[in-house]
Symmetry: C2
Subunit: 328 residues, 2 copies
Amino acid sequence: MHIAALDIGGTKMAACIADASGPLLRVTQATERSGAPDTIARQGLRMIDACCDKLGIDAPSISSIGVSSCGPFALRDGQLGFMPPNICGGLPNGDDLPNDWTFLPLESVLRERFSTVNIVNDCVAGLHGERAFGNAPANSMYVTWSTGIGFGLCVDGHILNGKANNAGHGSHMLLTDTEAGVCGCGNQGDLEGLLGGRNLEKRVGKPLAEVFSAARNGDVDALSTVAYAAHWFGRALYNLVTILDTEAILVGGSVWRHNEDLLKPLVQEEISRRFEALTSGVKVESAALGELVTDLGALALVMPPQWIEDWRTHTPWKHLQSIPLPAR
Amino acid sequence: MHIAALDIGGTKMAACIADASGPLLRVTQATERSGAPDTIARQGLRMIDACCDKLGIDAPSISSIGVSSCGPFALRDGQLGFMPPNICGGLPNGDDLPNDWTFLPLESVLRERFSTVNIVNDCVAGLHGERAFGNAPANSMYVTWSTGIGFGLCVDGHILNGKANNAGHGSHMLLTDTEAGVCGCGNQGDLEGLLGGRNLEKRVGKPLAEVFSAARNGDVDALSTVAYAAHWFGRALYNLVTILDTEAILVGGSVWRHNEDLLKPLVQEEISRRFEALTSGVKVESAALGELVTDLGALALVMPPQWIEDWRTHTPWKHLQSIPLPAR
């Protein structure tokens, strides 16, 4: 038996096929941004076909797919679709995007091919990955800090979904009434507006990689940007700890992964210095699974429990080959 | 069979005895604030004895107790106790309290008498009450807005507990970096610091009842205080909706109950005007069970499921007699 996984991001997509022994192959491609609203879902199907082709597997024989996708989600006619502000040109602030999309069907397209379809947002998928194959305890969260920011939340061993699978959109939490960051959702002063990679780069006027590199060389302005980022990121995490009584915070995403050395101690301090009864023992750590965390989480969604046990022992994802497909 | 419930607040306690037919009697008493750290737990036991006495019930025959208590909680030797900043004089900002308490044992004292002890914070108890006997759907929260502010959170039908039963302390979420409200926990600019009844009264310099009454008479300053309160309360609720993908928000507590007419439309607007994908359809309502919501929630914690069904049909709590006990 084979299973499929799809990871839909604002700039890149990945498709992956696995069997009981582990994930077999992963293909990636730039996310298409023009055409009909079902373009992205159909691109996903073609990527799975390409992956199967390369493996010599009969694609129609696969009946289960786990999907990790950017959100937010909405239901149309009882089927889940998504409406991400960074992709949909028809939403407010989408003027620079080459489409007039407002809602992208997903579940309805995938159900044409698969009998089992399980769709969660990318950070929830990350948390499923960390719960299955990493070190996320029963009260934990997974945070991605890259172009955007998102959360997967686990309380009492239960990964939160919410009324339309949108739990974890906490990056649209308002943190400040003075700072200037404007978010794609229209908010002023929410976490993603302040610190989402795209928004922060726009405000500091240079690539974040340059800023962090300058900070490592002792540049005072750059150090102050790093302190600013850690301050607001830490405040947001502190807020979530008070709300959910979390034990472990696992962070991933490009902004964090490349700059953990600078950010981690500052962010930890921002949490630990407040309300000891709630923050005592709360640890900020880097996610264990790195770049594959959402792919593995999407696979875990539709995997027999026995596979999870076996994969934990053998860590077969460590040998996974990833092939970029040319853009159409 | 009889069951007991205890509701421990910063200023008042209530004890209640119930059988299959409904709650039989409730006694209330001012919360004691001096003596040994187990004073409050032992006061609770005496109140249950007093309740049983009045009912002619043999107190030692009761083996189950549900407890609704102010938090935060902490574990000592594996047993739950609590350390509320408004009661414990030994904590930071507790100088005006007549004790040097830092931790109040609860579970260990109650287990001397009861074999089943289930302790949750007062807002989580309120949510259990609304889930059992009110109208709280699977994705909902219960909020108390009185002296302090607290939350009970339900996601996907699961009421959140967290690593030390402290989920729902979201009133210690930081909302602003400019406003002056200081909280008992030491935070500046968290929800309870801004809007907890005690803190808000201190800042406006008069009882809130006067402020809301003046606002109803068109007083401009009072109206601006009401708008301020609704603004920050609504922002906090919006934050929780983005994090948890909540459908219904049920509000109780004295500040809300007496001023719902003024607050509700403003708070609803503060939520609905943001991020439609997350807030569309989210309704702010008053909790259905009024003052008894936490007592009923505490009872629901240790009640056979069949009682819940029966009580929903017969609403026996509507006839419940409540007797104040003299302070010792």
